[in-house]
Symmetry: C2
Subunit: 606 residues, 2 copies
C-alpha cells in the first residue's frame, strides 16, 4: 500500500518523545544532514537555512522543527529546490481533523473500514498505526485530532471519565508528531452525575464542567479542547433550558480557559423535523438565525465551527453567510474529507478545487481555524480509496497556506506517493483535478444537491428527500425546478453582504453552477450560453458519464503498484456503474417531468 | 389484553396430551356438558348432536373433537344457536401459518415484537404462551405452524440438526392443539456436511436429505413437512445446478414421502436485479414462466405455494395466473397476515374482504391448501395491534370454509374478544370491514402499488422503487402513468384464461380498481363514472383521509378495555399522520406531474 512517506519507511519507531525527536529521526532516515535550533517562540513556524558546506539548519519551535523537517524531506523526495533561506508559518493555528468514530468501532459516514481508535466499546488501537497516522498528519501540517464522533454515543462519554487513562496514553502517542487530541463531549453529561439539569447557567453544572476539565487536563495537559454538537439532530443542548448557544459555549470555555483549551462549538443547527408542505422555513437560513445575533457574545476561547455551506457538504454550495458575517467571533470553517455526498471513497473526488473556491470567497482573517471531517479508517491504506489520500494531504497544505496552488499540492502528493514518470504523473494530477467537476456533472444539477439515496447518500434518488423531514427540497414539477432563495423568495440571500447578494440575486448574473441553489426556473430558461436549462442538464449528465469513462481509460494506463492497482480498478468499475445510473436516472427524471427531448438525440429512457 | 378466548381463562394448563384432552378441558371450563366420541376416520371433521336432556355429543377424529368443542364454545359465548345436529369439515387439509422468525429473535416483516420461539440464536419460549398460541390457532381451525423464516439464516439450519430436540419439545407443546410444526429448510445445506454440491439429482445429496428426514421424523413423527424458498432473492436453489424446480421439489418430496410429509415449495421467483431501463422484463410474468411449464411433473407430496398476486402482497393485485393455470399440481395460496405493505399493524387493515375477492376468483378445488405469513410476535397481545388479531382469527375461519360471510366472521371475533353492546359491536364490525378500502384509497392509486418507503414498506414514497432493481415501476410522467400489461404491452395478461383476460384487457371493461395494474393511461382518461383518472386519484385520496378521520372518531367512542384502549388510540394517531402524509404526497406527486388542479378546489400542496 502506498502512502506519501512510505518511501522513508513503512513505519515510525516507538520511543520518540518530542516533535524535535521525530524531526531528527525523519531527517536521518531521509539522509539529510541538518542542525536543529529550537526557538520556542516560533511555535509552528520554521526557517530553513543552508550553510556553506551544504548542510541545513532548521530554526523553529518544537513543532516548527518537525514541520520544517517534513518540508525539507518532501522537497528532497520531490526533487524540488526550496528557495533558501525558506521560512514558513501556518495561516491557521488550529488545523483540525474531526473523526466521527464511535466506540463500538463503527465510523459514522466512514468509508475506509472501521475505527482506528475504538473497538467493542473500548479504546483499542495499533500503536504502530497511530505513529504512522501521526506522521501522515504532521507531514501534512495538521495538528489537532478529535478522535470521537460529534454524535457522542455511549460509552464515548467515558473518555473523560474511566477511559481517561486510555485517552492520555493515546495523547502520548501523538505528542511526538505535534498532534494534540480533542474530544467530542456530551452536553447533557452532568445529568449522569447526580445533577438534575444540564442548564449552562446552573452553578452545579458549571462546577461539574470545571471539575471535569481539571481532571482531564491533569491527564492530558495539551488537550486542544472540547468539540460540541448541541441542539442538533437530536443532540442535547442549551435550548432545553431556554438558554442560547453563547450561554452553552461560554460555560465550557470558562471550564477550559485555565488550561488553554478551546470550546469548539458546531453551528449545524436546523429543524430536522420540517414539514415538506411548509414553504416558509428554508433550512439554509437556520444557522444564521441561531448564531448571527450572538456575534460578540462568545468567550475568546470559543470557536464556532461552521460548515462551509449552509446545507451539509453537498457538491456545490455557496459559502455559509455565517462565515462572512460574524466579525467579532472566532470561527472555524468545517470541511469534509469523508466523501459522504461525494462518492463514498468509491468515486474519485479530489476536493482541493472546491476548497480553493471557498477560500477565494472568504475575506482574509475572517476565520481563525479550519476543521475537516476525517476520511480515515482502519483499511490498510487508511482512506479506503488509495487516491482519497490526496484529500487528507492537500487539506493539510491548504490549512497551512490557503494560497497553495492546487496543481502543485496534488503533484506533491502524487510524486511522494507514486513517483511516476513525468508524463504519467501529469496524467494522474490532471485527472485528479478534474474529478470534482465530473462528479458534479453526473449528479444533481446546478447546485440543487440532495438527489441521493436517503440516509446512505450514495447513488441517485431524485425525489428521495422530497417529502421527508430534512428541509432539502427541489420541488421539481412539469414546468420548473428549484427553490427561490432571493429576497422575493425565502429571503435566504438577504443574509449575505450586498456584493454577494447582488451577484446571486439575478438569474442572469448568478453563476450557472449555483443557478438552482438560488432560483426556481422553468426548464426553458435560457442560460448565458444560449442553451435551455433542460438542455444544460442533459448535456452535463451525458458529459459527466463520458468523462468518467475517459478517466477510467486514463487510470487504467497508469502504473499503480499493487494492492493500489486492484483497489483503484475495482472502485472505478463501481464509479462507472454509479455514473451511468446517475446520468440515466437524472435525465429520465427530468424528461418525464418536462417532456422535452434531448436536442442531440442521445438516449434518454422513458 | 383481550384475546378471543380470554373469557374462558387467560391460559391453558400444562399436562394435556391429545387434542381430545384439550377439548375436554375447554368444554369443562366453559361449563358445557358434552360427551366426546372419537372416530379416527373423521379426522378434522366433527358433528355436534344434542341429547334429549340438553347435553351435547361430539363426534370426530382427535382433532375433529377439538374443533367441534371450540365451535360449540364459541357459539355459546356468542349467544349463537347452532342448528343441531351440526356437522362441519374443513375445505383445506393444511391450514398453515408461516412464521418469518429468525433465530436471533427478530421477525422479518414482524410488527408485533420479537419472536415467540427464538432468542439469541437459540430456541427459547414461554411454554404458557405456546399453549395460549396453540389455543388461538386451534380455535380458529389452523393446523400447521412453520416456525422459522423462509429466508433461513444461521443458525436456523440446525433446527434439523443439534437443535432437533428443541424442535421435538416444541412439537410436543403444540400437539394437544392439533397443530403440527413445519420447518423452513436451506436447500444448500448438504454442502455444510461434506457434500460438494446441493444438486438435487446428485445421489449423495438425495441420500443426505433422506437421512435427514429419517432423523427428523424419528424426533417429530407428525412434522407437516419442509417449506422451501429456493432461487429467490438470493436464496440457493436448483438453478445453480442447471436443474428446474420440479427436480428440486421432487427430491425433497422423495425424502419426506415415507413419513407423510409435504415439500412445500414457494413460487416467489423473479429477477430481483432488474435494470429499470429494461421494459421487456415484467416481474409479474416471472412465476408463470418458471413454473407453468412444469405442471404435472411434481410429486404428489409436493405443494407449490403461490402468493395470491403476481407481485408481493400489495393492497390490490389480480389473482396470480399460476393459481388458475396449474391443474395437475397441488397448490397452496399464500396470504400475508403480517401487514408488510398494508400498515405494519399500525394502520387498521382487516383482510377478509380482500381474501373473499381472491377466493371469489378461484375456481373450486384449484388449490388444496392455504398458507398465511404470520402476524404474530411476543407483544403481550400477540399481534401488535389488538385489532390485528381479527386477521388471524378470520383467516382460520376462511381456511376452514372459504364461503364464510366476512361480516359474520368479524362479528364472531369481535363478540368473543370484547362482547360490546350490540350497537357498539356493529360500529366496530362495520368499521373493520371498511378498513381495507380506506387504506387502499389513501395509498398508491388503482392497483399501482409499490409507492412505499423502500425496504421498510411503511409510508409513502411515490418514486421510491422507480429506479431500483426490483421490477416494480409505474413510470409516471407528465402525461400518463402505469404499465401496459396487455397483449400489446408486456403480455402479462396472456397468462390468464380467456375470460379473465378479456375482462382486464380493455380499459373500458377493466374494473377501476385494477386499471393502473394493467394499463398505462393518461391523466385525462375518462373513467366509467365520467371522472378523469387524475380527478379519481385526488378524490380517492381526500376521501381516504376523511374516512380515516371518521374511523378515528368512531373508534374513540368504543369502550375498549385497557391496555387495548391505549394501544388502539396510540396507533390510530399514527395512522392519522400516515394517512395525511399519503394523501398529500400522492396528490402533490401527481399534481406536479400533471399540472391539473383538483376540480373541487381542495388543498394540494405545490
Amino acid at each position: 500500500m502506498s502512502l506519501w512517506l512510505n518511501k522513508l519507511s513503512a513505519s515510525v519507531p516507538a520511543g520518540l518523545k518530542q516533535p524535535a525527536d521525530t524531526a531528527r529521526f525523519e531527517l536521518d532516515q531521509a539522509g539529510l544532514i541538518a542542525d536543529l535550533k529550537e526557538n520556542p517562540s516560533m511555535g509552528d513556524a520554521y526557517r530553513i537555512e543552508q550553510t556553506a558546506d551544504g548542510a541545513f539548519t532548521l530554526f523553529g519551535g518544537q513543532t516548527g522543527l518537525l514541520y520544517g523537517a517534513y518540508r525539507l524531506i518532501t522537497a528532497t523526495l520531490c526533487g524540488e529546490q526550496l528557495p533558501l533561506p525558506y521560512a514558513s508559518a501556518p495561516k491557521y493555528a488550529l488545523r483540525m481533523i474531526n473523526c466521527w468514530d464511535n466506540m463500538d468501532g463503527s465510523v459514522e459516514r466512514g468509508y475506509a473500514g472501521q475505527s482506528l481508535f475504538f473497538e467493542d466499546g473500548r479504546v483499542m488501537y495499533s500503536p504502530e498505526r497511530m505513529r504512522t497516522l501521526g506522521r501522515l498528519l504532521a507531514s501534512a501540517g495538521l495538528n489537532v485530532l478529535c478522535i470521537n464522533n460529534v454524535n457522542v454515543h455511549e460509552p464515548a462519554q467515558r473518555l473523560l471519565e474511566d477511559y481517561l487513562p486510555d485517552l492520555a496514553a493515546l495523547a502520548d502517542l501523538f505528542r511526538p508528531f505535534g498532534v494534540r487530541l480533542m474530544v467530542s463531549v456530551d452536553f447533557s453529561r452532568p445529568m449522569c452525575h447526580g445533577i438534575p439539569t444540564a442548564d449552562p447557567l446552573d452553578q452545579a453544572v458549571r462546577a461539574w464542567w470545571k471539575e471535569t476539565a481539571a481532571r482531564v487536563y491533569a491527564a492530558v495537559p495539551d488537550l486542544a479542547g472540547f468539540l460540541v454538537k448541541a441542539d442538533s439532530e437530536g443532540r442535547p443542548g442549551p435550548f432545553t433550558y431556554g438558554r442560547n448557544h453563547a450561554d452553552g459555549a461560554n460555560m465550557l470555555a470558562e471550564a477550559l480557559k485555565p488550561y488553554g483549551g478551546y470550546a469548539v462549538w458546531r453551528c449545524f443547527v436546523y429543524n430536522c423535523r420540517q414539514d415538506w408542505r411548509d414553504t416558509k422555513t428554508d433550512r439554509p437560513k437556520a444557522a444564521w438565525e441561531h448564531y448571527a445575533y450572538l456575534d460578540g457574545s462568545f468567550a475568546d476561547n470559543v470557536i464556532l465551527q461552521v460548515k462551509h455551506g449552509p446545507f451539509d457538504f453537498q457538491v456545490r454550495e455557496p459559502l455559509s453567510p455565517l462565515l462572512l458575517g460574524m466579525k467579532k467571533t472566532k470561527l472555524a470553517m468545517e470541511l469534509q474529507l469523508a466523501q459522504e455526498y461525494t462518492g463514498h471513497q468509491i468515486d474519485l473526488y479530489t476536493m482541493i478545487p472546491m476548497w480553493k473556491e471557498l477560500f477565494g470567497e472568504l475575506p482574509a482573517d475572517n476565520i481563525m481555524s479550519v476543521a475537516a471531517v476525517s476520511n480515515l479508517g482502519n483499511d490498510e491504506n487508511y482512506t479506503g480509496h488509495p487516491l482519497a489520500a490526496v484529500n487528507l494531504f492537500t487539506y493539510g497544505l491548504l490549512a497551512w497556506d490557503p494560497a497553495v496552488d492546487p496543481a502543485e499540492a496534488v503533484t506533491r502528493w502524487a510524486r511522494l506517493t507514486y513517483a511516476f514518470p513525468p508524463k504519467q504523473e501529469q496524467t494522474l494530477v490532471s485527472l485528479l483535478l478534474k474529478t470534482r467537476r465530473v462528479y458534479e456533472k453526473y449528479t444533481a444539477p446546478l447546485g440543487i444537491g440532495w438527489m441521493v439515496t436517503p440516509h446512505d447518500h450514495y447513488g441517485p434518488n431524485p425525489s428521495g428527500y422530497e417529502y421527508d423531514l430534512w428541509g432539502t427540497y427541489h420541488k421539481a414539477n412539469r414546468d420548473a425546478v428549484g427553490i427561490d432563495r432571493t429576497h422575493a423568495g425565502t429571503g435566504y440571500l438577504d443574509q449575505y453582504p450586498e456584493e454577494i447578494r447582488i451577484r446571486y440575486e439575478n438569474p442572469e448574473t448568478c453563476p450557472d453552477l449555483y443557478l438552482l441553489f438560488f432560483h426556481r426556473l422553468p426548464y426553458t430558461f435560457r442560460m448565458k450560453d444560449g442553451r435551455t436549462l433542460i438542455q444544460r442538464i442533459y448535456d452535463d449528465h451525458f458529459e459527466g458519464l463520458e468523462e468518467t469513462r475517459a478517466m477510467a481509460a486514463a487510470l487504467s494506463g497508469l502504473p499503480f503498484p499493487e494492492p493500489d492497482a486492484s483497489v483503484i480498478r475495482g472502485r472505478m468499475d463501481r464509479q462507472l456503474y454509479n455514473a451511468r445510473e446517475w446520468c440515466d436516472i437524472i435525465n429520465t427524471f427530468f424528461f418525464r417531468l418536462s417532456g422535452i427531448q434531448d436536442e442531440k438525440g442521445r438516449t434518454i429512457y422513458e
